[in-house]
């Protein structure tokens, strides 16, 4: 598809064609994604790539059944062929379904949305980006124990145009920037890893190049080089029940796995059973189940500045919203779509429908699932801990298909003794049961220490879609958590 422009009139023509086919509803979504990715390893360019993808996804509801077809071809005949194919698929589906899909209403919007930024990263010279990555990796290298030093930058520009048979016409441009470092050290049988400022490419924000500049990769490189060498000699934690303080770089994954996924209403309705699983947060628990302690309030907020789960409108034209999932420990809400909200009798969609690309249908996805901050300073959180650990930066993650039993490891930990930070610990692992764990949350740090990170690889759906979602969190303290060592 010609990548330079949005074929607006052609797309509107497709909505008119679909109306003439007698569909209940249809939407047509053009999307173009430009992605620049740079990886420098051991002071050599490991990967330098630009990617561009553009096409149109057409979603049709016919006699209460969905059909979806997508095409990278931009001409009118190919678009109409894809539209007809979507209708045919919906008809085939309708021949089996007994319960027709219904959608909660949404006001058809005519709008334009652009995510804010200061410096367009695509305008920054390549040499400047590479020089910065080279400089950062040079700071990681040196000691013989350092076996791998990697630095990366990623930039995305998503241009979307959404039109529906209800009359919506929405154009959006979303810009993301991210960067980070990873260092691996080895001595004898011991191998340790540190990332900065977060692992799994989590330093990703809806922002321009100014975000990368603020990350201070060079300063961070010195810190994680020192830490990874110390970790080679560090002891593991003592196994047993203890008090844990998780910093925001680990809270990202804790929120993602144990709150974000189980509140996706399509999972609750069984639509992910053959792949990602179900959820323990079934509808009879809504408004009744104690998900956590009174300190715990979790929101899905697509309006947070800088969050990679932020947007003007979701991929079915619903305006960005802030939805409370957990209020003062009580389970109060779901991430939802027009269809899933209707199935549960909710008055409106939670505005959480997004597709990875033009060739995939939108699914219920996390937006920015954030833990609201508390009142304490980080020092005050620490002060009450007689013996415990502070854990940082996710290393591995695993949770059961209902999202109850989880187990995480982090890259690094520190002992806490009588309110003070102690020695580094290596290979910490902690585990728990979701509502029990959140029920033991005894303190949250304040807004000043609250951090917003990204998860750029949230997998869901068949075919699998990888989504960028955001998580904001303060430091959080949990009592009576089982900790062990991954060694």
């Amino acid at each position: 598809m010609a990548a330079e422009r949005i074929p607006r009139e052609l797309l509107l023509d497709v909505t008119r064609f679909l109306k003439r086919q007698g569909v209940d509803y249809a939407d047509v979504r053009f999307e173009r994604v430009q992605h620049e990715s740079f990886v420098v390893q051991q002071q050599q360019v490991h990967s330098l790539s630009v990617e561009e993808t553009a096409g149109v996804g057409i979603r049709v509801l016919f006699r209460g059944a969905w059909g979806f077809a997508a095409t990278p071809h931009g001409g009118a005949p190919r678009l109409k062929r894809a539209a007809a194919q979507a209708v045919a698929l919906a008809k085939a589906s309708a021949s089996v379904n007994k319960q027709p899909v219904k959608l909660v209403p949404v006001e058809p919007a005519r709008a334009t949305y652009r995510s804010p930024y200061e410096i367009d990263p695509f305008s920054v010279p390549l040499s400047k980006k590479l020089d910065y990555l080279m400089w950062a990796t040079s700071e990681l290298m040196g000691p013989q124990a350092v076996k791998r030093a990697t630095a990366h930058m990623d930039f995305y520009r998503r241009t979307k145009f959404f039109a529906s048979t209800d009359g919506a016409q929405i154009q959006q441009v979303l810009l993301e920037s991210g960067a980070g470092l990873e260092v691996v050290a080895q001595q004898g049988n011991e191998v340790q890893l540190r990332s900065y400022p977060n692992s799994h490419h989590g330093a990703l924000a809806q922002a321009g190049f100014e975000y990368v500049k603020r990350l201070d990769l060079v300063g961070g490189a010195k810190t994680i080089q020192r830490e990874v060498l110390q970790l080679l000699r560090a002891k593991p934690p003592k196994p047993g029940l203890t008090t844990l303080i998780l910093d925001p770089t680990q809270m990202v994954m804790q929120l993602h796995e144990s709150c974000g996924h189980p509140t996706e209403l399509d999972r609750v309705l069984g639509q992910e059973l053959s792949y990602a699983g179900g959820s323990f947060l079934t509808p009879e628990h809504l408004g009744k189940l104690r998900y956590g302690s009174d300190a715990v309030t979790i929101v899905a907020d697509a309006t947070v500045p800088g969050g990679v789960g932020s947007f003007g409108y979701d991929d079915e034209g619903v305006p960005a919203r802030r939805v409370e999932l957990v209020r003062q420990g009580l389970f109060t809400g779901y991430l939802s779509s027009r269809e899933s909200a209707s199935r549960l009798g909710l008055p409106s969609s939670g505005g959480a429908m997004r597709a990875e690309h033009w060739d995939t249908p939108p699914l219920v996805r996390m937006t920015n699932v954030n833990l609201e901050p508390g009142e304490a300073t980080v020092e005050e959180l620490l002060r009450d801990v007689r013996r415990g650990y502070l854990l940082s930066t996710n290393k591995s993650w695993s949770i059961d298909d209902k999202r109850l039993n989880f187990q995480f490891t982090t890259e690094i930990g520190r002992e806490i003794i009588n309110g003070h930070m102690g020695a580094l610990i290596a290979n910490p692992l902690y585990t728990g049961i979701t509502p029990q764990f959140w029920g033991r949350c005894t303190g949250l740090s304040n807004k000043a220490s609250w951090q917003l990170w990204g998860v750029p690889n949230c997998a869901k759906g068949e075919p699998m879609q990888l989504m960028h979602v955001g998580h904001g969190a303060p430091y959080a303290r949990f009592d009576g958590v089982w900790i062990g060592a991954a060694d």
Binding site: A2, L48, E52, P361, Q407
Partner: protein, 450 residues
């Protein structure tokens, strides 16, 4: 699907047009119909088609990579120009290997015309009947079916011109009855070989029981891992242990241990992209023919897979395990085979005094401590306690945390039947594995109701 003639012509034209010293082009095309369903309703029916063309341009020792999914001349030319521009700005890569030369392969052996033309109508009549059968049994059904075709072409300026077309279909079924659930899946090259009713029977066989699941004390148990469970562990092991990159970075559990006994002598693992029992792929994304690579030979660490970059680093030829040019994971074994044993699956169960039967795992993670191959994950559908060789009772969800290396050092028996485990949504990646009876497997946690 574009087809071999046009695809190879266009990519060859592009490589010839390139002003780079070397140009390698990889094109991956896919068309899929995917149907998903839950509780008697089809909630997704889709058709998607796309092609991704990735171009690697080499200028001296400098490299740039660009990709597009628009297959027209203007986009391809623009992408080539972007790759060359990136290479021009890239620093020198002193150990850059030359592009692989002169391999020419063309295969459509695994392409079935009827499967390529099939759509949801291939599944819907059977699905109606499955819904009906489940309703009759008082069970619920969820799952997915997929059918489609794939093509892969690799062309480079050193004379490589490879093309493969194939078809793929498969289904996954989850059945639920009271507090139990069952699962079955199958992947085939031909849609005519897919038998949804047989899959339903397997899945229902795991859950149509009146017994409530019991909670087992945590600890170390014997386990019988069915092929789906074995495959997930093996594919994780492949990604963290058998690629030359993880070996080079010392994060592999066989780093520095080639020739050493690391597993039970009955364990032989190899990667074989050309074996017809797998999802055959005759060449890699660099256009190098795939070699059969022994990874573990009778329990001994035997080898690694290489691409051109890591082959060059170790003075070895590429084994044909390169990934697309924009990938940074290094060479990977994508067609793993675990050699079978002599017992039947039923004999494995009969030979188990007290253990857990596990059809498949959920959410395995092998990043806990890769040098030890320490992994965690959970049981899912169909896990049963076995006592004195018989299935005694279904068990609630258990979490294991155990070194796979240690688990494979304590093998009791291996089944003679093997299954191909793969994802019907994607062409590359499969494991052909038997069931395993292991003497020790550590369960460290369990799920509890909210």
């Amino acid at each position: 699907m574009i087809g071999s003639t046009r695809l190879l012509e266009e990519l060859t034209r592009l490589a010839a047009r390139s002003k780079a010293d070397g140009t390698s082009i990889c094109a991956q095309g896919q068309g899929r119909h995917v149907l998903r369903f839950a509780y008697g309703t089809v909630h997704q029916v889709l058709f998607q088609e796309h092609i991704t063309v990735t171009i690697k341009a080499v200028l001296g020792k400098r490299v740039g990579v660009a990709s597009t999914d628009t297959f027209d001349r203007a986009s391809l030319n623009r992408t080539l120009a972007a790759a060359v521009a990136l290479a021009r700005h890239s620093p020198n890569h002193p150990s850059l290997p030359p592009l692989p030369a002169s391999h020419q392969l063309l295969t459509t052996e695994d392409h079935d015309a009827a499967t390529a033309q099939a759509g949801p109508e291939a599944f819907l009549p059977s699905l109606k009947r499955l819904f009906h059968l489940c309703q009759g049994a008082g069970a619920s059904l969820a799952g997915s079916c997929a059918v489609g075709e794939d093509e892969l072409a690799v062309v480079n300026s050193a004379g490589v011109a490879c093309y493969a077309a194939s078809t793929l279909t498969g289904a996954k079924l989850v059945t639920m009855y009271r507090k139990l659930s069952g699962f079955s899946s199958r992947v085939e090259r031909q849609v005519s070989r897919l038998n949804l009713e047989a899959l339903l029977e397997t899945s229902l066989g795991q859950c149509l029981h009146r017994q409530a699941p019991i909670t087992l004390p945590l600890g170390t148990y014997e386990v019988i891992l069915e092929p789906e469970a074995v495959a997930e562990l093996l594919m994780w092991l492949g990604s963290i242990a058998f690629g030359a990159k993880s070996f080079h970075e010392k994060s592999s559990c066989i780093s520095g241990r080639i020739g050493e006994q690391v597993m039970d002598k009955r364990i032989t693992i190899l990667d074989d992209g050309a074996h017809p029992d797998g999802l055959r792929m005759l060449f890699d994304f660099e256009g190098v023919p795939k070699r059969r690579v022994p990874l573990i030979n009778r329990g001994t660490a035997a080898g690694l897979v290489y691409d051109t970059t890591y082959g060059h680093l170790y003075g070895q030829a590429s084994t044909g395990h390169g990934l697309p040019p924009d990938d940074v994971e290094g060479p990977q074994p994508l067609h793993m085979f675990l050699e079978p044993g002599t017992a039947s699956r039923d004999e494995l169960i009969r030979g188990c005094e007290r253990g857990v039967l596990i059809p498949r795992f959920h959410y395995v993670n092998g990043l806990l401590n890769p040098p030890e191959a320490l992994m965690t994950g959970l049981t899912r559908e169909g896990a049963w306690l076995i006592e004195r060789g018989r299935r005694k009772a279904p068990v609630t969800t258990l979490r294991f945390t155990h070194s796979l290396l240690d688990a494979l050092r304590h093998v009791v028996a291996i089944s003679k039947e093997r299954h191909r485990v793969a994802d019907p949504m994607q062409e590359s990646g499969c494991a052909v594995v038997p069931a395993l009876h292991l003497a020790r497997f550590k369960f460290t946690g369990r799920s509890e109701d909210a």
